[in-house]
């Protein structure tokens, strides 16, 4: 009987602390993970990539760091960046398919370059970027949670 009561009280204290964390986790995660991560993305990629990053609450004490960066035609650029691309060819669509007959870009010397087809070497520059951001920042979130819970308990004790 006494053991049951002790267990009940223990779970009660745990529940109180966890409910407090769950109620505030979005705010704390925004301040410790999302805003610094957006700053990193803006620096390393561009402002569009930073704006495409957000947070979602997915469960009790659970959140998701969501990246949804799309190209002009809805291509999932976030996958290409996060997981990288293998070497591949890029071919012009052609006028009959609603595109141009030739690809165009500006070369390193500033000259206009036109080509019907190119071989892209693949991209691995930003592979695992969001995952790394999470791994780097989650410790900050944990520290914030510890600090906030301690403050909360002190305030309650007063």
């Amino acid at each position: 009987m006494s053991l049951d009561l002790t267990k009940q009280r223990l779970s009660s204290a745990t529940d109180r602390v966890e409910r407090y964390i769950d109620d505030n986790i979005m705010v704390w995660a925004t301040e410790t993970i999302l805003l610094p991560a957006q700053s990193n993305l803006e620096t390393s990629i561009n402002a569009r990539a930073a704006d495409a990053l957000s947070l979602e609450k997915s469960g009790f004490m659970k959140i998701d760091l969501v990246w949804d960066l799309r190209g002009d035609n809805g291509e999932p650029l976030h996958f290409y960046l996060e997981f990288g691309t293998r070497p591949h060819t890029i071919e012009s669509k052609g006028k009959e398919h609603g595109g141009a007959d030739a690809l165009h870009w500006t070369g390193p010397s500033g000259k206009n370059i036109f080509a019907k087809i190119v071989n892209h070497p693949g991209s691995k520059k930003h592979v695992g970027l969001i995952q790394r951001i999470k791994e780097e920042r989650v410790s900050s979130l944990q520290a914030r949670i510890i600090s906030e819970v301690q403050n909360k308990i002190e305030v309650d004790a007063i």
Binding site: S2, T6, R9, L10, A13, T14, V17, E18, I21, I25, A29, I33, E56, S58, G59, M61, K62, I63, D64, L65, V66, W67, D68, P76, H78, F79, E82, I130, Q131, K134, V138, L141, Q142, I145, I146, V149, Q150, I153
Partner: protein
Amino acid sequence: MSSVDSDTLKIPIEIKTDDLNEIRKLIEDITNAENDIKTLKSRRGKDDSSRSAFGNRESAFATDDRGGIFGGQQGSALPTQGRDKDSRTPVQKESEFAKLKNQVQEQESRGNMAGQAIQGGLGQAAQGLGFAQFLGGAKATGVISKIAGLASKSFLPLAIITTITGIISSSLDDMLAPGGKLDRRFRRNFGKESLRLSSLKEKAEITFGRRIVRITTIGNQRGTDSQVRSNLDYVKNGVNIFDVNGVFNKGIGAGII
């Protein structure tokens, strides 16, 4: 671990309190504090330095002020009175009215005892006097005869005073009793109530004779021509049918006009 199910990149972040040592320690501290508070509240004889549920029994029971099963608990954590098994109320409460009633009865019994003591004293004095005369005859006229003289002189006035006091007391009791003349309990004042029962508009209609109010002093005669009067009779003769307090027909009766 990332998720690509919904065509967006989702990196889950989950917080577990078990993984956070500081949080785990805080929860343990809270739990221990709660246990300590509960233990301190419920058991005075307990050894505070020990976490044992029973503490040091020798020290707990060494003095007369020992703990017992509730550890000498003070305050009102437990009911001090037994449960009334006939009642649905878990704890029997003392009624304030019953308390007041007991006080009044106590005062009354004191008054009766005082009266009885006076009467008893007088009776005993008279008996003592007779007994002394019987034993000592004419020789025992010393101190006893003086006392007897005093008692015989004071007997009549005291008896009269006692009788008068008894009569006044019983009369007061009768008058203060329910229905008596000095009954101070709630009484209906119909004169005042009539003020509330009729509005100013109704009074005006009655005064101007627009509304007829039939009045008779004899019961079961309402409606007969000889006995029935109405406010029209009074109005016609210039009598105010409302008094200064605004009460209808007060002080005037049918048949006067």
